[in-house]
């Protein structure tokens, strides 16, 4: 596994897990037929890309951003509004994706230049405020964005569920499968691109700045330039993930594209997977999305059981709507006891 970047996963268990996840995702339409399983696989791909681009900032540059989902949303809305306004077509899709990417990058440049030149902690606060304002704007400007209801739109014919290309050994190659592979291929390529970035000289300088900004500056590296470039690259990655997700869902709205809970999901994925390791983003995304889709039901069952036993408080604590509570607890515990995440634990076990 020396794909492009030369960064090996290090550690047999880690390598085996990565190959397993990758193979499962690659063959998902054949291994797990069924709409829900394919949705889960798609979400893992998108979240892995989103978390990887976030890790570029959080893990490698050591900057906390709360606007990552805003860039994700910009990508989503870019594609969605282009397809909605210009009608279904590959040209409109490409135009929307390019527009979203460009806008996200420029906005990241503006926010970065504005807040990173003073101190990095400003960045966390400013991005929180900007993301909040953007959220409000997106739901208020309903004649453009569709407001709270969002926008449903048509995709090119080849990606529609009704489209049939061929039958191979009992599997029909339909539009859904083609959409999945569109998402999958783009996510793999972009993930490898991010991996290349963090292992480039630029990525090394980012880590140097994270470890000791003063020393890096004394060596002649411009801190603001590197941090801002990292912000822009990470925003572009998030926008691409958003565009892919919108094409898959054929819908865009504040809940699927801009909600702050997606931001928390991404944070949890990066921290649990392992900050400063992109392989962690992939493993974290797989684990998180599977847990979200299948563990929530388990918690709900526990809640019902507790209610039947007439225990106080416990049923409402275990209610599926309180999923975030347990995520928050896990998140805090992970930061204290496993700051290097799953990847760190696996590598340590090997050493």
């Amino acid at each position: 596994m020396r794909l492009l970047s030369g960064e090996a996963p290090r550690g047999g268990a880690l390598r085996a897990l990565l190959i397993l996840v990758f193979a499962a995702l690659m063959l998902a339409p054949f291994l797990f037929p069924g709409a829900k399983a394919l949705n889960v696989a798609e979400k893992i791909c998108v979240m892995a890309l989103l978390a990887a681009s976030y890790d570029l900032l959080l893990g490698y540059a050591g900057i906390v951003s709360f606007a990552h989902v805003m860039f994700f949303g910009i990508g989503s809305y870019g594609v969605a509004l282009a397809l909605y306004g210009l009608g279904p077509g590959w040209g409109a899709m490409a135009l929307g994706a390019a527009g979203g990417l460009a806008f996200a990058t420029l906005l990241a440049l503006a926010v970065g230049l504005f807040s990173l030149r003073v101190q990095a902690i400003f960045f966390a606060m400013v991005t929180l405020a900007v993301a909040y304002a953007f959220n409000v704007l997106a739901s208020q400007l309903s004649n453009i964005t569709g407001g709270e209801d969002g926008r449903s739109f048509q995709v090119p014919d080849a990606l529609k569920p009704g489209f049939k290309l061929a039958e191979i050994g009992g599997f029909s190659i339909n539009g859904r499968m083609l959409s999945y592979y569109l998402v999958f291929v783009f996510c793999v390529v972009l993930f490898l691109a991010v991996l290349r970035v963090v292992n480039s000289p630029f990525g090394r300088v980012l880590q140097a700045i994270r470890e000791n900004p003063l020393r890096a500056e004394a060596l002649g590296y411009r801190i603001v330039f590197h941090r801002t470039l990292a912000t822009c690259l990470s925003a572009a990655g998030a926008a691409a993930a958003g565009a892919l997700n919108a094409v898959w869902l054929r819908y865009v709205g504040p809940d699927t594209a801009l909600s702050f809970s997606i931001q928390i999901d991404v944070l949890v994925i990066v921290v649990i997977g392992g900050m400063g390791s992109l392989y962690g983003a992939l493993l974290g995304a797989a684990l998180f999305v599977i847990a979200e889709n299948y563990l929530q039901a388990l918690i709900g069952a526990l809640s019902k059981g507790a209610a039947n036993l007439h225990l106080p408080v416990l049923p409402s604590l275990l209610h599926p709507d309180r999923w975030l509570l347990w995520l928050g607890v896990m998140f805090i515990l992970a930061i204290y006891f496993a700051p290097t995440g799953i990847v760190g634990k696996l590598r340590k076990a090997e050493d």
Partner: protein
């Protein structure tokens, strides 16, 4: 006895006037556009009341950051917690709140404030000891841990109080408005303004006239030096953090009564506003925080009247303009 008069050796720090005047400048610019004098007065008074409430919530956060570099992303959860505690006081004592007696009305209001201050202050102590102590000096982890803490607290509030909004209204005698000519201000806003002003004055007095205040100010300027002189600044910091949490709870009560409802998401929304205010004011500066709060609230009120669509982003724009003018905020704290 040394021959040098220590007090005289330290020249009084100059206070810049221009940043403090920004709210006045904004008011002067907005006045001609608004046109009518009575509307302008009403908007300005409403803005002042809102600014006082925001200042109450924000001041503790900025001091805590100034002293220990601790930026608490869980501050919003304390605001919500204070508001929920107020409902616990207001709902059983509804008879007092609706009684036609100024004294009973003030009693229930005062009880709610005291309860919120005590509960959020105690909670702040636990939060600081359990969550923040292990990550002193590590910005990244602090942000993440306090954010995690705020998620947990917010979800616990949902679990304990239910996900619905809880309606809550000010005591009977706070309803209605004072009318001056054609300008009007709701009575409750006057009360809120009074509480906010009292908090501001108390803070200024404590910070400038007491020994503890002296240590806190010294700690904001240079923590290591205060430690080197033998003071346990971490203990002092716990006190400041608790006071900040208590003030967040107090502000939460004021805000909940002002809005007429309590919801666990209110803390998150207000935290955004609080951050903008302390960035505008300069991280660590109480005076800057006060000016910033008034400035943001006035702009929000004027923009809400003149251009409602613009009002959504008016506070961000205000922050951008201020930071372009003074990159470290209105009153930058030296050494940061």
């Amino acid at each position: 006895m040394s021959a040098i008069d220590v007090g005289a050796a330290l020249p009084r720090a100059k206070i810049e006037i221009l940043p403090a005047l920004t709210p006045l400048i904004v008011a002067a610019i907005a006045a001609p556009f608004i046109g009518s004098w009575s509307t302008f007065a009403t908007l300005t008074l409403a803005g002042l009341a809102m600014g006082m409430m925001i200042f109450t919530m924000a001041s503790g956060l900025t001091l805590a950051f100034g002293m220990m570099d601790v930026l608490n992303f869980g501050h919003g959860a304390f605001i919500s917690l204070g508001a929920y505690v107020a409902t616990l006081v207001f709902l059983p004592l509804a008879a007092w709140a609706q009684a036609d007696s100024l004294m009973l009305n003030f009693a229930v209001f005062g009880l709610a404030l005291i309860a919120a201050v005590v509960v959020t202050g105690a909670f702040g102590f636990v939060f600081e000891r359990v969550l923040i102590v292990p990550v002193y000096g590590q910005h990244l982890k602090q942000i993440l841990v306090t954010l995690g803490g705020s998620i947990v607290v917010e979800q616990l509030l949902y679990a304990l109080f239910g996900p619905e909004q809880i309606p809550i209204s000010p005591p009977a005698s706070f309803n209605g408005s004072f009318v001056f000519g054609e300008a009007a201000i709701e009575k409750y806003r006057v009360v809120a303004m009074g509480v906010g002003l009292a908090v501001f004055v108390a803070q200024i007095v404590v910070l400038n006239r007491t020994r503890i205040g002296l240590l806190i100010r010294a700690g904001v300027e240079n923590r290591e030096m205060v430690e080197a002189l033998g003071y346990r600044i971490d203990r002092l910091f716990v006190g400041v953090f608790m006071a900040g949490s208590a003030l967040a709870g107090l502000g939460g009560v004021l805000w909940a009564l002002y809005r007429g409802q309590v919801h666990a998401s209110m803390g998150g929304e207000l935290l955004v506003l609080v951050f903008i205010v302390i960035i505008i004011g300069g991280l660590g500066s109480v005076g800057g925080c006060f000016t910033g709060a008034i400035l943001v609230a006035l702009i929000a009120n004027y923009a809400g009247f003149l251009a409602p669509k613009l009002a959504l982003v008016s506070n961000i724009l205000a922050m951008v303009v201020v930071l372009l003018w003074r990159p470290r905020g209105l009153y930058p704290v030296s050494g940061r």
